[in-house]
């Protein structure tokens, strides 16, 4: 088991290393290079030389990269240029909001995706299957930012039920306000992902329905509800775990657009702000944190999958 985890990590190492080089090298895209960022584009040659010495920019690139990597591994991405605060501190402020949204969106997507998949898998080719397949296609095809706008128009502008801009309220402080703020962004993201979930789960359910053990269970005279509810679901949900995990991982970094629609103060919006103000240390920090979470969750899902499905061997 531990060997499996280590091997999986070993496979990821080159990916992480390459990605870290790419992220580190971004700094050289600033007009005037990293030095221009520190002293401004119109600095005198003396000021540039002094700053180069002070920040170690006159050292060989490899040394600079290793230095950056070493600091990054300790969570030190430097100071935000515009925020004048440590990058990690800024990210830490936004992370809880993003996690709230990720969890809420996952719940919404499961609540929509699982019933849709079961209903359409039970009678493949029937009208209900076709309607629900069309729904999945629609859920996937409608851009989240447009869906978000439509939801704002309906629930905020017309009905005045929910706020059009969502703030972050920790759920343990004021559950009602937190839910009111999360409802629309979570619905927007959740609908989109329910389309993916429904497709995957339907395919895997249809496959399971043809299996021998299902025929056995039916010929034993088990009620259909029990055949589907306990026998099939248990098997069909296995691959599903991977997808749900992938989705969770995606919500953390990929909710950028949804966060922008609802001006939700998550990690994604921090990244957009960083890009529009060309705050490179902040951009690097955001991307590294999102990447690490994304890969970490993916790995956790792999391991979990191998753990709950005894048919998968660790070797």
């Amino acid at each position: 088991m531990i060997g499996f985890v280590l091997r999986r990590f070993g496979q990821l190492l080159p990916v992480l290393l390459l990605a870290s080089i790419g992220i580190w090298a971004m700094i050289f895209a600033v007009p005037g290079g990293p030095i221009g960022m520190l002293v401004g584009e119109n600095a005198t040659p003396e000021a540039i030389a002094a700053a180069e010495k002070q920040f170690g920019l006159d050292r060989p690139a490899v040394v600079q990269y290793l230095d950056w990597l070493w600091n990054a591994l300790q969570g030190n991405f430097g100071m935000s240029i515009h925020g004048r605060e440590p990058v990690l501190h800024l990210i830490g402020q936004r992370l809880p909001a993003t996690l709230h949204l990720a969890v809420a969106a996952t719940i919404v997507s499961l609540l929509i995706g699982i019933p849709v998949a079961i209903l359409s898998a039970l009678k493949p080719g029937s009208w209900i299957d076709r309607v629900l397949s069309a729904w999945s296609a629609l859920a996937l095809g409608v851009p989240t930012f447009w869906l978000g706008i439509l939801l704002i128009l309906l629930f905020a502008v017309e009905l005045h039920w929910l706020p059009s801009a969502s703030g972050y309220v920790p759920i343990w402080e004021d559950p009602l306000a937190a839910l009111r703020n999360l409802a629309l962004p979570a619905l927007t993201l959740g609908v989109y992902v329910s389309g993916i979930l429904a497709r995957f789960l339907r395919a895997s359910l249809v496959g399971e329905l043809r299996a021998d053990y299902v025929r056995t269970a039916r010929s034993k005279g088990l009620p259909e509800r029990q055949v589907v509810g306990t026998h099939i679901m248990r098997n069909a949900l296995l691959p599903f775990v991977t997808i749900v995990g992938l989705m969770m991982a995606n919500f953390i970094g990929g909710a950028v657009v949804t966060e922008a629609v609802f001006t939700y103060p998550g990690l994604g919006r921090l990244l957009i702000q960083a890009i529009s103000t060309r705050d490179y240390p902040l951009i690097q920090g955001c991307i590294v944190v999102i990447l690490v979470l994304y890969i970490g969750i993916n790995m956790a899902v792999d391991v979990l999958y191998a753990y709950i499905d005894p048919r998968i061997e660790y070797s």
């Binding site: 080159p14 890009i275 991307i287």
Partner: protein, 291 residues
């Protein structure tokens, strides 16, 4: 050549399904509008402040925006931006991704391992984030958006081509070329590639929908195509500020954008069914990102 030969029968089978026929018709209309935009009586830049935020009318079918420009004109010219960016992005993805997949699958070994590691790096970040990081480096422009979206599409082409090569690699007609002393390059590009067109072609269509979605998302975030160039994502971004006064501003361009994405997706799916008997298509950018 086989592809050209059967184009007619594929088209006939596509048109047999009402959904694909409608999608094809819609895309044809959008493409024609984008190409002929200059000859239509539409001006996407003409401002008329007295007309700002007027609802749909006989003169302005889609209404006017915050500076009195015709929204329909901007949607039509926006189609040009969207389709051009998507076409360029898909071309970049295919031109880089397909040879990567060919070489990785054909030679295997260290070349396979190295190339696919690079592909993994591209997949390690959600597509939208990767594109944003690229734009942070390249600066904001249509070309930057095109390149960024294109690079995120490389992995899907590399993987699909590689899988195809692996399934063909040991087939008799490939070993025969080797036995006759045909070079590896000849074998890859003249023997294997022509037999791999259908999954690649399906992926091209599917990726068009992904690329349009991504480009619109980038513009919506304000990092894509820079104004005043009309783009659908940018229109939704601005329209969002006028939801109370002018709901049609964000709704109508959104309908066109959504129909375009759905049309490409519908046709990609139908082609996958016709050309390869698949019902599912791989959309890594979609699974890998949530635009």
């Amino acid at each position: 050549m086989k592809l050209l030969h059967s184009t007619r029968s594929v088209l006939q089978r596509l048109l047999r399904s009402p959904g694909s026929a409608l999608a094809l018709l819609f895309l044809l209309g959008i493409t024609l509008a984008a190409i002929l935009a200059d000859f239509l009586p539409l001006n996407p830049y003409a401002q008329k402040l007295v007309n700002a935020l007027n609802g749909p009318s006989a003169a302005n079918w889609f209404g006017t925006d915050e500076v009195g420009r015709d929204i329909l004109a901007r949607v039509v010219f926006g189609a040009r931006t969207s389709l051009l960016t998507a076409a360029g992005a898909v071309a970049i993805a295919a031109v880089i991704g397909v040879p990567i997949g060919l070489v990785a699958g054909f030679f295997g070994g260290w070349r396979d391992a190295t190339l696919m590691r690079f592909v993994d790096v591209l997949l390690a970040l959600p597509a939208i984030l990767f594109a944003m990081a690229m734009i942070a480096v390249l600066g904001r422009s249509q070309v930057a958006a095109l390149i960024a979206v294109g690079i995120t599409g490389i992995p899907s082409f590399a993987r699909i081509t590689r899988a195809q090569v692996l399934s063909l690699r040991r087939r008799d007609f490939v070993t025969a070329v080797e036995a006759f002393g045909g070079s590896s390059a000849y074998n890859m590009f003249r023997t294997i590639l022509p037999n791999s067109w259908s999954p690649i072609f399906v992926q091209i269509v599917v990726l068009c929908s992904v690329a349009i979605l991504l480009e619109a998302a980038l513009s919506f975030l304000g990092v894509g195509v820079a104004p005043p160039t009309p783009s659908w994502g940018e229109m939704l971004r601005t329209g969002k500020s006028y939801l109370h006064e002018a709901p049609y501003y964000a709704v109508l361009p959104g309908i066109v954008l959504t129909l375009t994405i759905l049309s490409f997706d519908t046709i990609g799916r139908a082609l996958a069914g016709i050309l390869e008997n698949r019902s599912e298509v791989v959309t890594p950018a979609k699974v890998g990102g949530t635009p």
